[in-house]
């Protein structure tokens, strides 16, 4: 047993000094390999985390959203049809949503304007649930997890006031108390006072939001009181969501229900491998990998063959040579795997995917600053290990089988270097 360990040690020692002898080539290889692992791991960490986060956050999204379609386009939903929906068996509650986009020409930014939903309280009085304003008020209780995140405070949404997301505040350099001008549908300029800014923790969902009162929303976009953007439907029995959804289509053929399942499924398949950028990243990585696996597998250089000949002549068995090549592959791929994975982790979770950011941003002027929750699993690392370390190590060993055909006496036969 001790002999066995010593033998491995000697052979690893030899492998390492062999690798060091071809410094430029092997460090280049290591760097390229690390880069590939880094890219694959970054993509993996990023997409997995964002999917996981989406599935957690969006599990709170409405059970069913009903849009009206007109000529293939999303159209305003007539309030009158809400009553029709309410009559469907299994429907617990139907609530209107008012939201839309506003394009700010000066900045080239798109905002999402949203009217906080209205519910009826026990007394039958309508009140906005703009509990909403998770205004930055950390000074109140920074460490208290039970702090009421959404509170009325004095930031209650009154006509003429808005609450904006962090992304907008950052892009516009706006502060509470500033007035923000909007060009209404009829060309008039309206100013709203910024009453609060949504928390930076929630930027992943709220960065470009502008919360606005219903009255302001309607007058800004010229939407009549009979219409809303779409409606949300809550069902009595969560198992009946799809039944209710198909009933809705039957009763309102021009409507399109989107269930929470649909939303979650959309985010499950976001960053699918077929997506353009993903396919570019993956194919580049795979291609690079194939190239050097090919380089390895296509054989040994004359120098390597000669060296193997010498080793066999001085008493190394074929198995010792294969062991040496195995360690050679293992040393490079393990080092690359760990370095790549560590760098990727730092890249994704500490620097906020610095390298991906330009691509992710696209042409958005407003890009949320978000810190991803590091959802990372051992399975992910294991997958990464199997798609990088194993094939490379195998590709290193394979041509060595052919080295078994190098006769030990080849060292006696070659003359001159």
């Amino acid at each position: 047993m001790i002999d066995w360990i010593e033998r491995q040690r000697y052979i690893i020692d030899f492998t390492l000094s062999s690798l060091l002898r071809r410094k430029v080539k092997n460090f280049g290889l290591l760097a390229l390999y690390t880069l590939i692992v880094f890219i694959l791991a970054s993509t993996m960490f990023f997409t997995y985390s964002i999917k996981k986060e989406a599935s957690i956050i969006l599990s709170e999204s409405p059970e069913i959203i009903v849009q009206k379609l007109s000529a293939g386009r999303h159209d305003q939903f007539p309030l009158s049809q809400m009553e029709t929906l309410k009559k469907i068996r299994g429907v617990a509650e139907v609530l209107p949503r008012l939201w839309g986009y506003y394009y700010e020409g000066g900045l080239g930014a798109n905002y999402t304007l949203l009217v906080p939903p209205v519910t009826t309280n026990k007394n039958g009085i309508e009140e906005t649930t703009d509990s909403i304003t998770s205004v930055e008020n950390k000074e109140n209780a920074p460490d208290n997890p039970d702090k009421p995140l959404f509170q009325y405070n004095d930031t209650k949404l009154k006509p003429g006031t808005i609450i904006i997301g962090q992304g907008i505040a950052r892009t516009r350099n706006s502060h509470v108390g500033d007035f923000m001008p909007f060009r209404a549908y009829d060309g008039s300029i309206v100013g709203f006072e910024i009453k609060g800014i949504l928390s930076s923790e929630s930027e992943l969902v709220s960065s470009d939001l502008i919360l606005i009162s219903e009255q302001d929303f309607r007058s800004l976009f010229g939407i009549g009181n009979d219409f809303v953007t779409d409606v949300t439907v809550a069902v009595v029995n969560p198992h009946e969501v799809s039944t209710v959804a198909s009933k809705i289509v039957n009763i309102l053929p021009d409507s399109r229900p989107i269930t929470r399942e649909d939303i979650l499924r959309t985010y499950e398949s976001i960053f699918n491998w077929r997506g353009g950028m993903m396919i570019v990243i993956f194919s580049a990585a795979v291609l690079a990998f194939v190239i050097f696996a090919w380089d390895k597998a296509s054989g040994l250089s004359a120098g390597e063959r000669q060296e193997i000949g010498i080793l066999k002549a001085i008493g190394w068995e074929t198995s010792d040579v294969i062991l040496m090549k195995f360690w050679e592959g293992a040393v490079i791929s393990l080092t690359a795997f760990f370095s790549g994975a560590i760098l990727a982790y730092i890249h994704v979770f500490f620097t906020g995917s610095l390298i991906f950011e330009p691509a992710l941003k696209g042409w958005s002027v407003l890009y949320p600053h978000f810190v991803l929750t590091p959802f990372i699993s051992v399975e992910q690392l294991a997958t990464l290990f199997f798609i990088t370390v194993i094939p490379y190590t195998v590709a290193t060993i394979v041509p060595t089988w052919r080295a078994a055909t190098i006769d030990p006496d080849s060292a006696m036969r070659h003359s001159g270097d």
Binding site: S61, P62, H74, L204, V205, T266, F338, A359, G362, F375
Partner: protein
């Protein structure tokens, strides 16, 4: 045996990072909860990842033809649009 030291060190760092990740997940529960509450109370449906176009901002709400209707070349959607699929949830519905 410097190699083993390096590998051990790297494995250790990776283990530390994973440990840090799980710590981080628990420390971020507050922020997660906040986002969930915001989604529930404002009835939000999407992540604010790409703000440049309707179908990238509200991926799940995009109507059937959105990804291809704004501009024949869809230039403004290139990088982020290319990450995501055109409303695949539609194709799965009958």
């Amino acid at each position: 045996m410097a190699f083993f030291l390096i590998i051990m060190l790297e494995a250790f760092i990776l283990a530390l990072l994973i440990a840090q990740a799980s710590l981080n997940i628990s420390s971020m529960q507050g922020a997660l909860k906040e986002k969930k509450t915001l989604v529930r109370s404002l009835k939000l449906t999407d992540l604010c990842l790409f703000t440049e176009a309707r179908y990238t901002r509200h991926l799940s709400q995009a109507d059937l033809n959105t990804p291809f209707q704004d501009h024949p070349l869809s230039l403004e959607h290139f990088p982020s649009g290319s990450f995501t699929l055109p409303t695949n949830l539609i194709s799965k519905r009958k």
